[in-house]
Point group: C2
Chain length 345, copies 2
């Protein structure tokens, strides 16, 4: 019996939709060792594996050209894909870039977009290897696929978290979402009175987190230098809650995350207070941080604790305990994935 | 000096635009043996190579949902990518599918789309290995990336055509374009008076060529069984003229194509006459045939001539002779790529 028979796209949400639409597809090629359901697909070829991931960015859904410089957009489009590969502990080597453009775009605008793509390629050492160019009826659409290589034994999946493993996160969370709120607010003010200049000073960090994020190539390197292979890993594109729940579900485990341990940047606290938003909610559900969330055995506590850009925020526990957030007062609340609600709008 | 400084997107056209935007990108990874500029990118990994290609299909540009059944659309979206891989003499193994949908799409509609994707996966023996799902502001967008494997020495590029090589094409040409004209005409009639039923009988072949094309997996198999490795190959997505010019340009050669040798289906002749269109023009510039265009040494004439689904339509000559079409009366006209003019509209 299909329980989704009478459901709508909105009822299912992004993950439910993908699961529903792809449930009857089987993997038949034995060299495809991971299909749908992780940050990237894994295709085995002798000792080496090739990893493939893809992301779609749509104008009006993922970005607003009123406040997104095209160069930044090009850069970010590459980053979101590379981040998925790093989350598999893999080194990216190439990308394909497909764009659909409406006739409002000038050649100069596209050159700007590609200058950002090029910058990301240079900084992350990946090659542009293909793509497609098309017209669109409205707006800009960017579809990027990234490929990378890894030895089979080095690949980290979402499903390897073990009981008592430490849950770690790189950098800080929530800033990209708060940067977006700031840009949205300034856009509204600007649209109502275009004499008023936007107040963006002192918030460079959170704006950059939204407009020009980085992928954590450095973390992969640090972990490798310290001989740490995470037991599970995912990148944070949909908020901490959603991502830790993916790890718990795939690993068949529960978790405890401590509110006080969640890393939040001072500018994030500041703007959250100003906007009367909870900075922790932004970290849990905001998304677009492109930080790495991973688990390591408890035995590696000391090594991890010494790495400045990594925070230990909780631990993995038995599935029966559920996935919970421990608040500052000691009370527990279940973690809930907000995920992608764009279709609901 | 940049000669494109004052040019617009329309001035450049699709191929010029890609060339312009990507001219400063360099391939730095030595395992990437082919980047932009063929049907697929080639990444070397020991003896095996992985090939990657990607295509974008946009509602209102590449398809019209008034007359395109979603199942057919799903099927065709896969086929256009597989066709690129066959054109490299490569066996496809996996695809990623990203879609952006507006809220006009029901779950049932998406299930239809995916049923077509699934059918193509089954028939062509490829696995769905990943993807992304997103909202769109308007309409449907499908971005598919296909990957396949080939031994390095088996891969066929666009650039290997030699003087006196025979130019061969599979199947017949122009039918997909003529099928589209028929659908467009019936749509207009229907929109002006929806009591009139469309007259589509007797034109099943050309309609199927437009709505549910196949990729020529069979041709790759036949060539291999006959120990023929083409010297160059490309799939016909933009019309014969555009594709043979790609081969000539990449191989630094000229060509002669004989009008009387171009394979055209009886239904194509029939509908072309009815619509007062030249069937040969449809074959030269129509596109979406997804047939294979390839060159083989003259010495393989006899073997090729015996294969029923392959036509020899001309030969490769020195670059100085240009790329020409020899008409039935013996006169020569230069071949011109019409290619992609969608942005110009």
């Amino acid at each position: 019996m299909d329980n989704n028979k009478d459901k709508t796209v909105s009822d299912l949400g992004e993950f439910g939709l993908i699961e529903h639409l792809t449930k009857d597809f089987k993997i038949t090629h034995k060299n495809i060792i991971k299909g749908i359901g992780d940050d990237a697909a894994v295709v085995e070829n002798q000792d080496e594996c090739m990893l493939i991931t893809t992301d779609l960015l749509v104008e009006g859904i993922h970005f607003d050209l009123i406040y997104t410089p095209l160069k930044h957009l090009g850069y970010k489009s590459v980053i979101v894909n590379l981040s998925d590969l790093y989350a598999m502990n893999c080194t990216p080597s190439g990308i394909t870039v497909s764009i659909a453009i409406s006739n409002k775009f000038s050649l100069k605008a596209l050159e700007e977009l590609y200058s950002g793509i090029k910058l990301a390629c240079e900084i992350y050492d990946v090659d542009l290897i293909g793509g497609d160019t098309s017209s669109s009826v409205t707006g800009l659409l960017i579809s990027i696929t990234a490929v990378g290589h890894a030895k089979k034994e080095d690949i980290v999946y979402r499903n390897g978290a073990k009981q008592n493993d430490l849950i770690c996160v790189s950098g800080d969370l929530g800033a990209a979402y708060l940067g977006l709120q700031l840009l949205e607010r300034e856009k509204e003010i600007f649209l109502s009175d275009n004499q008023i200049q936007p107040e963006l000073e002192n918030f460079e960090y959170i704006l950059e987190r939204q407009l020009k994020p980085e992928a954590r190539k450095d973390i992969i390197k640090i972990l490798s230098e310290n001989n740490i292979k995470p037991t599970s890993m995912i990148d944070i594109s949909d908020g901490l809650s959603s991502e830790i729940l993916h790890i718990c579900k795939k690993s068949d485990k529960g978790c405890k995350i401590f509110e006080e341990k969640i890393p939040v940047h001072p500018q994030s606290w500041q703007i959250a207070e100003k906007f009367n938003i909870s900075a922790i909610t932004a970290a849990l559900n905001g998304g677009e941080d492109y930080e790495l969330l991973f688990t390591v055995p408890l035995s590696q506590n000391e090594i991890i604790a010494k790495i400045p850009s990594i925070s230990i925020i909780g631990h993995i526990c038995d599935k029966s305990h559920g996935a919970n957030l421990i608040l500052r007062d000691g009370s527990e609340v279940p973690l809930i994935a907000q995920g992608w609600n764009a279709v609901k709008k």
